[in-house]
Symmetry: D3
Subunit: 293 residues, 6 copies
């Protein structure tokens, strides 16, 4: 199936006709019911506050993510936590698919779940992890979203769900892995204004933040009992570092000198397999970026 070369001579009209008025539709995929929050929670809250439609999708139900709970009971607990996290971020939807945690593979059934979610959301922007990450579920989430990237426009695939007529922009979540190639922050977002909402969303994942994660780090004893104290503990543990050097550089590109004052940021890399936006399109897709005139 040939496709790309064709674009060379097609007169591509502006992708977004009236950016100011337009409501954007954003969908973010993660492997587990807290992954999107960590990598895109602040940006999602920014979209939501401007009235755009944001949906998070966890490809697994998280039923392996605990030291002493598991199965359907844990899945139901985590679904409820995800709902609460979504509420705190102000996003329109947080869907948790019912695939086993720790067993995700880039199969056709999972690919089709992704294709249908993107189409049904009529997404302008699709976010997902890169296929390079420490957790196999994360890697295969990245792989399967890549596998869906072009297919969302092919009507013969998943014919029960009308195909999109335009390929969305696909962007990768930030990560710190270097092999086979490091994450490249094509766009970086100042989330200082929604940072508390992000921490609050994190705080909603009680099973993860205050039980399973600390267990893994042999730090259960250090988790404060008091709700306020433990949220503070959470903020400090997860978010006390500055942006990575490459992200800082990207912030400078997009925000100019004031980048130095930004304390919390999220960054994204354009995936080559979806629509490849111009810089101007990126400004339209992330309308809270400083707009050039």
């Amino acid at each position: 199936m040939l496709y790309r070369g064709f674009l060379l001579f097609c007169c591509v009209s502006t992708m977004l006709a009236q950016p100011a008025a337009r409501k954007l539709r954003v969908i973010s995929f993660g492997a587990h019911p807290d992954d999107c929050d960590y990598r895109a929670g602040g940006t999602a809250a920014k979209f939501a506050r401007l009235g755009h439609q944001v949906k998070f999708v966890a490809l697994t139900n998280g039923d392996a993510g605990h030291q002493s709970e598991g199965g359907g009971a844990l899945a139901r607990r985590r679904r409820a936590e995800a709902q609460e996290a979504g509420r705190r971020l102000g996003i329109a939807s947080y869907e948790v698919l019912d695939n086993h945690d720790g067993e995700l593979l880039p199969t056709l059934p999972v690919r089709h779940q992704v294709i249908r979610r993107i189409r049904e959301w009529n997404a302008d922007i699709v976010l997902a992890p890169r296929p390079w990450d420490y957790h196999p579920d994360h890697r295969y989430t990245g792989a399967v979203v890549q596998d869906a990237a072009y297919m969302v426009v092919v009507p013969n695939v998943c014919p029960d769900t009308p195909a999109l007529r335009k390929n969305p922009v696909f962007l990768y979540h930030e990560d710190e892995f270097q092999r086979p190639n490091p994450f490249r922050p094509d766009v970086a977002i100042d989330i200082d204004d929604t940072f508390e909402a992000k921490v609050s969303a994190f705080d909603a994942h009680v099973s993860q933040m205050y039980e399973w994660g600390p267990f893994l780090d042999d730090a259960l004893a250090s988790v404060p009992k008091d709700p306020v104290a433990r949220r503070e503990w959470l903020r400090k543990g997860w978010f006390s570092g500055p942006p990575a050097p490459a992200v800082l550089k990207a912030l400078e590109k997009w925000y100019g000198p004031r980048a130095q004052t930004i304390r919390h940021a999220e960054a994204f890399e354009v995936c080559e397999y979806g629509h490849r936006p111009t810089e101007q399109e990126l400004r339209e897709l992330f309308p809270f970026l400083p707009q050039t005139k």
Copy 2:
């Protein structure tokens, strides 16, 4: 299974004894019944004109590649288009395997299909896409040909088809993707003399060039009705650009100063998983390259 290190001390005799007289056997794999044409059609025609044996193989039957047709009927239409394209290129065979379009995965059955095709063709050269590409079928075509690369010499694998005694040279088709690493044009071929045959082969894929592709680009209305006009439209749409900078550089390496005059080229990257040819072997394998004395 250890293998490579052994080569360090084996006295490898020249791979090709009498290059001048020898008929080369070339096989190219694509995901769909037009992919090989785009990436290797001009080179294939050059081989064919010199009397070498070229075979194209599409790993899927293309049954998803249309906005309003599909299934077996579309597969049959595309098989006929492929046959016609092969005829126009002058190649010996254009085989379309009957796997579903849009559902290719690097499974053992598909790997075995590839192994058998390479062995039966007794290939000197195997061409395929890289496993990095916008279309999952393309990526998995690359992956599955990689998976076959060494196995073609192992008699216990697919024992019904005699194993090759020498590993062919595997080369990747050109693409423009940068992640995780860009295509590296190890060899670049001037196809100006067969360019019209390549356009003509493209023109044979009516369902793709004049229906499905333009539909995807919202350009159906711009497709000329007149056969001559639409072929011109096709040529301009797909092939009006110059070679990529890296390809141009490779042309200079292989063709010297006259590279600047070359308007159409195809390029290939040596895959590390097959036999790794010396520069001299590459000249013997692509006998239309300027030969050093």
Copy 3:
């Protein structure tokens, strides 16, 4: 499942409390019953001589690795060869799993085999090939060990085998492949003192070294009949070259000026998906490296 970020604020106590007294536990995965020997045999023998526990695991039974034998009979022959090779290296265990040679895929059942082996061995160090290699079984061994890397600490995965409380250090075997990125020798080991044991282990794989390998290289006639002579022939064929330039550089980093005198070395790259050791930790994990005071 979030995990990594958490480490940023946890006070990680020294990983290895009493390095001097401690017995290390090392496990190395290969695709076939000779792969570990080639990439880690010398290092394994060094560990073993110091009283550390080393286990080699071949993920396939090698039943395709011969020109005229195959199936269960060949698998049994190769298992016996592996046992003998393990004996010659002095390692504690050489396990050969019963998956078909030439058909390995990174499935959940194989992943679980790997997870259980790592846990049962209570490994400090896990060695495996990178997922880039000429042989698909090698690549998928790399992939499936990556897929196990984090999962060894998750109790809900393979709950019949107690999860580790600390993620081991995962390291890749050396290889010479360049795409998508070359092997990076994070640590390099002088194996001159165990080199003869490594050659001897190689020599135990009679079916591979003196039958199948030479057959592949059309060199059967050159294999000496005499046991002493053929071992010499083996040594020369496989191990006569100097360390690769990057490995030499790594030797210089770890051994200082005396690196120039090292004739045989093995090198490893830290995998980002397991525990990421500091340089000091690497010295503790490879106690035969020169220790800084």
Copy 4:
């Protein structure tokens, strides 16, 4: 998991408390978007006319069922035909799942699709083909509904969809196959009053009744062009025979002497894997059966 034996001592309260007032919920599974119509269309219409909720589910999208069409386009055509057929029967829902026609296997993903449909419908009655039938899709529909039969009450399976607290009654559609054992009509329904609706539903499947089916029987030329005539042709072709002898006997059991006057009937066999109804429960579940006082 033990379950059945337990029932021996449990005091089972009457399954249906107030049969008269209660609205029953019926779901029928077929392989293709016309299978339920043929085997249960008349009964479904009877349920619907009494205000009960009936849903038909086709497990495949029918994209192989035509001599010259196929793929997504055919799937969409057949989905529309199914909607129209459902409308003519008066049932509440006709869902067509997007699995390939001719490729259905009893996999876990398909099983989970079935479990969720039964739970979401909160079904009292589940209808499906037996796993013995000429078409593999029919057989595997039967197998996969069997595989779901007990699982609908297990909360740890598909935990995103609340489990039923009572196992529905599962019944098989009638068929004429004798091996390994013939269909046993445990209940038979007089459908003379809804027979025309059933024929009308059949008539809605234009692609099947007037194109694909006649093609298979080499009878395309005999299909009348006139809508009224072709419906008559359809009625005669499909429904002119009397009930099978065993069904007639079942009609006598349930309807007494007036069974002889019944011209069209549908029959069902109780599946041992769901709740096993008493005769009284069957009367409550099929409230249009003559009620004993």
Copy 5:
């Protein structure tokens, strides 16, 4: 592979040379960690008391069998319950394989698990459910043990585990399903003397007998708190009925007139796919049957 016909002319020597002295080796497969107990617990205890070696194997870890627990934690709880049940029966081993409950399929990896268990146990007798049962895990346990039945003697299958030289006798557990054909009690065993051990083994499965099972039957409130009372409740609930008529008839065949006094029995059907024992061999294999002189 031809095999059976051969037996027609082979002079088969008596299978069991010295029945009196010989220690029999019995292995029973169930889907979940209580299935074997229910269908063969009494017989197993009889074997054990005579010094024969009995092993129970659950093919799944039971991690779905509870209303509010699940995953690894439940699997560990059930493994411990199974160990305790095995202890109470006096059998040599109760192994719980780590496949997901509710997801068992007759795949090659599971088949190989079964083959290895039978070989390692060097079984004379293999017990398993029929492939007809209400629970899909039960059915597929039956199917996969059938799939292993002949393979245990083929050395090329699972070559890491020495093949048996004689096919064991395979027998099905009793069940009450009628389709496609009812269970046929080829042999029936009086278990009155081990009945209390069987009840005691049942009682060890606390999660199943007093939590999950009663939940399914809406009978949680009726479970006594007192350990003695609840065991009595268990005995009454599960085992108060008389043997099924066909089993009673089999008891008469094997025990003669005293069959009428037997209150608890277990019955087995000879599977045609293993060695087919003569009546005399059955007496030797079940040495607690009345022996003919």
Copy 6:
């Protein structure tokens, strides 16, 4: 997909127009390269002698069927044996597919292999084992041929191979298994005139008849060395029994009183999933049956 009912009113013209002149096309599937010989070798030879076209297909390559050989080498040996056996029977083709022995499952790729073979052979008659048999490969051969039975007429399935316009008659090979239902000899063939050819075909499978089979029965020592003697030994061992009682009855039906004199017979059961022949059609399909006038 509805199909069968349609036949009720279609005027089916005689299936075989000119039986006398017509050359029949027969294809038989077995799991291993000797299964067809045993169950249909005599009948195949009769067809062949009358000039009809017969093809045997083994779905696996038999690479597990030996005590000391295996893999590709054994597969090649058995392919050669099959070729020789086919030659001795006089049939047109004996194809051995390259699936692993002992690992056959009724997957879609294998189903498609079967569909293509039946179509390419343009078969009138398809023979295969029942899905009830001691060897899993035999059972799954039966299952997968059933799965192909209707699909051979559907053009959208395997669209690269033109669909048949008429469904062949499918018949099962004879076997002796009783559960869930015994084999029913719908037609029985006197093969006394081709019996020696059948024995001779058997004799060609040296690896099976004189090595692997006797090994399984602990009878290796009893195999004569002399070629003539061992063939006699083979004949006696495999074929000394009379036809089974049900087959004898079938012979009487088809041959009348002379059935008593028939010493060797083969029998077949009509599969309900293909075309269901009338008695007259069966006589036309087996033209060596006594013809009624």
